[in-house]
Symmetry: C2
DNA sequence: ATTTTTAATATACAATAAACATAAAATTTT
DNA sequence: AAAATTTTATGTTTATTGTATATTAAAAAT
């Protein structure tokens, strides 16, 4: 027995974003086979029968980055009949915000970070998916301070402001930004300062936790709790 | 050849919302077969090979309601392996905001409107899907005046306020509401008033159009343009 | 010691949101 | 016909939030 409804394939694709070198970058893999041989693609894979969509996205993420401290959110499901040239593949896209310091990627000709402002030729509809993940990140940032998921665990307010500016794609006023940032729930002022960097040391901050929408956003952390 | 990736089935389910009798109501169908025989379900169907997800959702909507003037938005994709007891069905859920006046449903024991505040026993994870569509509607209403999609084409500000109160689930101040409503872009004041109703006549308003997010929200209208 | 660079901070003004009470137009009741 | 009732309609004050703007402090480099 073989019916039409079973001829779809379903995948998850994960847009993995971070900040490196003062730029938002996305992790891409080079395709070794047709279709779109030698084009770049978002990491993805088939959804297994035993796992739900979040688990599939986490698996893909783990396979590529081995991170355990990430923001992961279902983005949108793309199902145009022609998005895959050979077969009918519906993909449930996710996006992840990760910390560069948490990731040890062996950058290779087949796997690496690319500035979202300067993307290489992409396979399928992956350019659209990346653009949409940036838009969603902006929408999230207007509601909650997800930007810190892109920063090191300890960060300066200047770094935080830079992350906001990259995501929102506009300059922000320093004094107003700091006033609002300091009022953010969950922000913790540390008694530590940057050192060995240049000029005047900057105070370091961290985030204790975040409250996230339990349906659409998932914060996955294996970070051990600090001793109380 | 038969591989694991082809054993998923993919459906669309559409949460169809409207306001009837001063309450938000959702269109449900009674299941005639197992599983969940005699439970109520959101209208849905398999995605055909030739159509994209939006088209599948529109088809389902059209089959049930024959509407042509609706707000339709992809909601979320639900893919828990156990959400369907017999097989692996991943569903891409949509929600639609429709006008009661546009719909001529032959209400029957198998198809009808149900208050979202008083849902009958539901099949699968459909209760969760409906709850989430209400949450998303609230989020949308905080950004744009989608509520008017639930109202008649011509409506009073009192009706509009009532729609807001139902969606946001709280009382609003009349004067502040009207001040903000009147400042809403696209709202058109008509030279018409309610008649034959009770008490003092109320002025009627309408909306000219809406600007929607082109990716996540789709406004589908076949309404003929008014003669200029 | 002087210059350079980045960090840190406060106030005035504008815009938005929130609180609040009464008069007008129609119907219903007596 | 007058009075009571119900729904529509409207403005001002206050509090909160957002926006705009310039100078001093700490360290490194010269």
């Amino acid at each position: 027995m073989f019916n039409e409804t079973k001829t779809h394939e379903i995948t998850v694709d994960v847009v993995i974003l971070t900040i490196i070198n003062n730029a938002i970058q996305v992790l891409l893999v080079k395709r070794l086979n047709e279709p779109f041989k030698d084009k770049w693609a978002i990491p993805g894979g088939y959804v297994r029968l035993s796992e739900n969509l979040d688990q599939a996205a986490l698996r893909v993420l783990k396979e590529r980055t081995n991170v355990d401290n990430i923001y992961l959110e279902q983005l949108y499901t793309f199902g145009d009949p022609l998005r895959h040239p050979n077969s009918r593949v519906i993909t449930c896209a996710y996006f992840a915000l990760v910390r560069a310091e948490d990731i040890k990627i062996i950058s290779s000709p087949e796997l690496g970070w690319h500035k979202v402002s300067d993307l290489p030729p992409l396979a399928f509809d992956h350019k659209e998916i990346i653009q949409y993940s940036l838009k969603r990140t902006r929408e999230r940032l207007e509601i909650c301070p997800v930007a810190y998921q892109l920063l090191n665990e300890k960060f300066t307010l200047t770094e935080m402001q830079k992350a906001y500016e990259l995501i929102m794609d506009k300059k922000l006023d320093k004094r107003n930004f700091r006033k609002k940032a300091l009022a953010t729930e969950g922000l913790i002022e540390l008694d530590e300062y940057t050192k060995s960097s240049s000029k005047r040391p900057a105070r370091l901050y961290t985030f204790e936790s975040i409250k996230l929408d339990s349906k659409r956003a998932h914060f996955i952390s294996n970070k051990k709790k600090e001793k109380k």
